[in-house]
């Protein structure tokens, strides 16, 4: 099975405190560290496991500048065979639809049976997978937490839905799936793994290479625009209790008694 996995380089929220810059219109980038979006990492692991079972190869693609190459290398160190960097000045400032349009260009350059994305990203809107599927007229399932290969034309997939339940469906190939965390246990990639693939050529593809109309993507083509960032007011609802542990506990007991929290 030929699988394309779309990945994204994002600020690592585990290892960052997200602050705004002086102007308040963007996040402060100076002290950020980046990594591959957690959901995407599960998608790549799943793709590799599928290929281990039924054969084929995994290609990873990302849209971004040269810095984005590092996440491709990390995923290639996991076991993805090929990487594609979709990069073009015209891509900058793309909204979800713009990104889906670029990825459609990438997907159509290859002959993929399965396209995967992460279900969401910390700085995203959980939209690219569904848009890509619709643009390509392929069937789609989101929040996938189980994949079984039925045959070379069909998959059985599970979606994570409310209440911890799992919605099982059959989906025809080729299709697009967005992957939920917890579907597998992604393997570890260390510095050594990345160095091993450091010299593998990663083709960079621009709007022209991909047959993407530069006007339809990037800031120019964006119909949904982020105007600014701001820090939401803290504790607007909560009445904050301060003091020593002793004092806090005393007040909490009072409140709990009043609210029927102690039986």
């Amino acid at each position: 099975m030929e699988i394309l996995v779309c990945v994204k380089r994002v600020p690592d929220t585990e290892e960052n405190e997200i602050c705004l810059n002086g102007a308040g219109n963007d996040i402060e980038c100076e002290d950020l560290v980046y990594s591959v979006n957690e959901w995407d990492n599960y998608a790549v692991e799943e793709a590799i496991q599928i290929v281990d079972r039924v054969g084929g190869s995994v290609t990873v693609v990302t849209v971004g500048d040269e810095d984005a190459e590092e996440v491709l290398r990390r995923e290639m160190a996991m076991g993805a065979e090929k990487g594609i960097l979709a990069t073009d000045d015209a891509f900058e400032g793309s909204d979800g639809k713009g990104l889906a349009t670029i990825l459609k260009g990438v997907a159509e350059k290859g002959n993929y049976d399965l396209i995967m994305t992460g279900a969401q990203a910390d700085d995203g809107a959980a939209q690219v997978g569904g848009m890509l599927a619709a643009l390509m007229d392929l069937p789609y399932a989101s929040l996938v937490n189980l994949i079984e290969v039925v045959d070379d034309k069909k998959l059985k997939v599970g979606r994570e839905i409310e209440g911890g339940n799992q919605e099982m469906s059959e989906i025809e190939l080729p299709c697009v799936l967005s992957i939920q965390t917890g579907i597998n246990e992604p393997r570890y990639v260390g510095i050594r793994g990345i160095r091993k693939v450091a010299s593998v050529e990663i083709p960079a593809m621009g709007a022209g290479d991909l047959g993407v109309d530069a006007g339809a993507v990037g800031a120019a083509g964006a119909i949904v625009k982020r105007a600014d960032y701001f820090v939401p007011e803290m504790g607007e609802g909560a009445e904050m209790i301060e003091g020593s542990t002793e004092e806090i506990v005393e007040k909490l007991v009072e409140i709990l008694k009043a609210k029927g929290g102690i039986k």
């Binding site: 690592d12 290892e15 990594s35 246990e185 570890y188 510095i191 050594r192 793994g193 160095r195």
Partner: protein
């Protein structure tokens, strides 16, 4: 000596001269033995290189101490004494047994130099030796059958008790056969052996009433029973745990000489060439070094390692002895005495499980105990290197490893906040800590390391350490954001390339700082810089305990009387200060320098100290276990009558403070760090 009976060289049985057997048995025996040993050597030859032919004088010293003088045996008194009896008996009797083999060919043969008084003295000694060995064997067999020690209780598939008893039987038979051979000869000649009340003396006493014909039969029969058992035993040794009878000499000769360090990925590849390696660590059997395979052969299955292993104690899926035994059985299976050598398969999932290998805290208790000098930490680390290379890392460890890669600490805290502990209210105005990142200079570097830099509670240790250094009149500074994790556990968890990166960075920063001395209060940092960084230009390093001990003895630091004389203190030896670096007395002496401080020792202390649960990345790993090591340790402190546990390691403090809560002993037990204890008792 006038005799009425003839020896095996001259005897004929049904017209056949028995000398034929005297010739055939050794030839077949030695032939089989050579064939078996050649087979056993095959995996050693295929194995990875090791560096063990250096530092010969030190090796000979170890050989004399640990092998010949059986230095570690009495740590388990009963078993140890029995082993020493059998061991020395064997050494003494090996001369006689060899002599006997030749006597079968030539009746008058004597080992060179044995024909005079020396021979008589030897004969006298060996008669007692045989007696002692026989007695020891009988006691040992009884202990085995009655499972006298917990160590003997192992899962059925690993139970080698029957083999042990069989071998004790063989040894006993050798003793009896040899003595009967001699006794029949004595009885026929009408003499009594000089060794009164020895085995042969009793036998002679009994045999003296036997007719000569019977004595002749016993004489010949005893000889060939001895001859057959002797060569059978020789060939049987390499089949199992008694291989150590042969390999122990070499295993101890080639045992590790240094403590605290970790072997390089490969001995024939420098750190700079690591990138070129196709594969990392141990994935299949032959990836082990030849010495490590020799270790597997040498394991006597005595179980002392596992008896001391804290992981085994709390029910984690690790027992060091089985690391050896499972490997040995696999080697025997892959290198059969007959037929083709099998293709080597990945060890993980075959004989070892991932959890088993991650369960080790690298505390070193097993290696400290092994009477044969078998090592485990390097093997565990090599297996982990292999797992890391294959991406087999538990999710719980992936986040801290990635944080270490990106931020230089396992908690993922920002670099620029590494020195924030110096700004604490009430501290900053009394003790100004110099920051190298701000261009300040000093003679001494205080290497803080990650946990004391970032963890709210452990920052107290950093501040206490600073106060102590200031009191000692030391002009010191810290690296601040230029310091990265020492990488002690990064290396021990198998992430060698990440360790190399951290190491290179820290070395650069330390050398750039121009300091002449390093002090740290974190034994893990101390160990990494001292034993793993391998850089000749690095300045000397001291742990705070050594620093305080030195300053107290020189009078530069004086300590005031103990705050609360009702408290009873006990010192918990951190593995990376104690076992791995042999610093046992400095912290104790420094504590005892506090007037009025009452100190007791726990049942397990010094080189038998019980690991707290492991530091560094081990804090993040979620092992399967029935109980926490820390809890066992805290209970041990209570049993010793202590109500304050003093550690000299931030990780020990984390684990022990936690354990006190888990054990619900908050009211009766307290844990503090050595740095805090000293800081509280600084004069003035």
């Amino acid at each position: 000596m006038e005799t009425l009976i003839v020896g095996p060289a001259d005897f004929t049985f049904l017209g056949i001269p028995t000398i034929i057997f005297s010739f055939l048995i050794p030839v077949v025996g030695v032939g089989c033995f050579a064939y078996i040993i050649a087979n056993r050597l095959a995996p050693l030859i295929k194995a990875a290189p090791d560096n063990r032919f250096n530092r010969i004088p030190e090796r000979v010293f170890q050989l004399i101490k640990i092998w010949l003088l059986q230095w570690r045996q009495p740590r388990y008194m009963a078993a140890g004494v029995l082993h020493i009896m059998i061991f020395f008996g064997f050494l003494v009797l090996s001369i006689r047994s060899t002599e006997l083999v030749v006597v079968g060919l030539s009746d008058d043969f004597m080992m060179p130099g044995m024909d005079g008084i020396l021979g008589s003295i030897y004969g006298f000694i060996k008669d007692y030796a045989a007696t002692v060995v026989l007695i020891a064997c009988i006691i040992a067999a009884i202990r085995r059958v009655k499972k006298a020690e917990d160590r003997f209780n192992v899962p059925k598939e690993f139970d080698h008790s029957s083999e042990a008893i069989f071998v004790l039987g063989l040894i006993s038979s050798l003793m009896i056969a040899e003595s009967l051979y001699e006794a029949s000869h004595m009885a026929a000649a009408g003499h009594m052996p000089a060794a009164i009340f020895s085995l042969v003396w009793f036998e002679t006493l009994i045999l003296s009433v036997f007719p000569v014909g019977l004595l002749q039969a016993i004489h010949i029969l005893a000889y060939y029973v001895h001859d057959v058992i002797f060569f059978f035993f020789l060939c049987f040794l390499p089949m199992g745990k008694h291989f150590h009878v042969i390999t122990s000499f070499f295993n101890v000769l080639f045992m590790r000489l240094d403590k605290g360090n970790i072997k390089p990925v490969r001995y024939d590849v420098s750190d700079e060439q690591l990138d070129d390696l196709e594969s990392f660590g141990v994935k299949k059997m032959e990836d082990f070094t030849w010495k490590h395979i020799l270790d597997f052969y040498s394991c006597a299955d005595c179980g002392r390692c596992s008896d001391q292993c804290p992981a085994n104690l709390v029910g984690r899926p690790l027992s060091p002895r089985f690391i050896s035994i499972k490997a040995r059985e696999k080697i025997f299976e892959n290198y059969p005495l007959r037929g083709e050598h099998a293709e080597s398969k990945p060890l993980m999932g075959d004989i070892y499980s991932e959890d088993e290998i991650w369960s080790c805290t690298t505390c070193g208790a097993c290696e400290q105990e092994c009477p044969l000098g078998i090592e485990y930490i390097d093997k565990i680390v090599d297996l982990r290197r292999g797992m890391v290379d294959e991406g087999m890392v538990p999710q719980s460890l992936q986040k801290p490893l990635s944080a270490l890669e990106k931020r230089g600490n396992a908690w993922g805290k920002m670099e620029k906040k590494r020195a924030d502990w110096t700004k604490a209210e009430g501290f900053a105005d009394t003790c100004a800590v110099k920051l190298l990142e701000k261009g300040e200079e000093a003679d001494t570097l205080y290497f803080v390391d990650s946990i004391s830099s970032y963890d709210d509670r452990m920052q107290d240790l950093a501040r206490a350490t600073s106060l102590v250094l200031a009191a000692g009149g030391t002009d010191f500074c810290i690296l601040g954001k230029d310091e990265k994790d020492s990488g002690n556990e990064v290396r021990r968890f198998g992430e060698e390339m990440l360790f190399q990166t951290l190491k290179d960075h820290n070395i650069d920063m330390i050398l750039e700082s121009g300091v002449k001395h390093i002090v740290t209060a974190d034994p893990h940092a101390y160990n990494a810089i001292k034993n793993d960084y391998h850089n000749d230009q690095l300045p000397s390093i001291e742990h705070l305990a050594q620093y305080v001990d030195r300053k107290v003895k020189s009078g530069e630091i004086t300590l005031k009387p103990v705050e609360d004389s009702s408290r009873v203190y006990t010192y918990h030896d951190p593995c990376y200060l104690g076992r791995h670096n042999s610093v046992y007395d400095a912290p104790r002496d420094a504590m005892d320098a506090i007037p009025g401080l009452r100190r007791v020792e726990m049942a397990k202390c010094r080189d038998r100290s019980l690991c707290c649960s492991g530091g560094g990345l081990m804090l993040f790993y979620e092992p399967e276990e029935e109980e926490r090591m820390g809890v066992v340790r805290v209970q041990m402190a209570a049993e010793a009558g202590a109500n304050v546990i003093v550690t000299a390691c931030p990780f020990c403090l984390v684990n022990i403070e936690d354990a006190i809560k888990v054990a619900k002993m908050d009211d009766t037990m307290e844990a503090i760090d050595f740095s805090e204890l000293i800081a509280r008792h600084l004069e003035g």
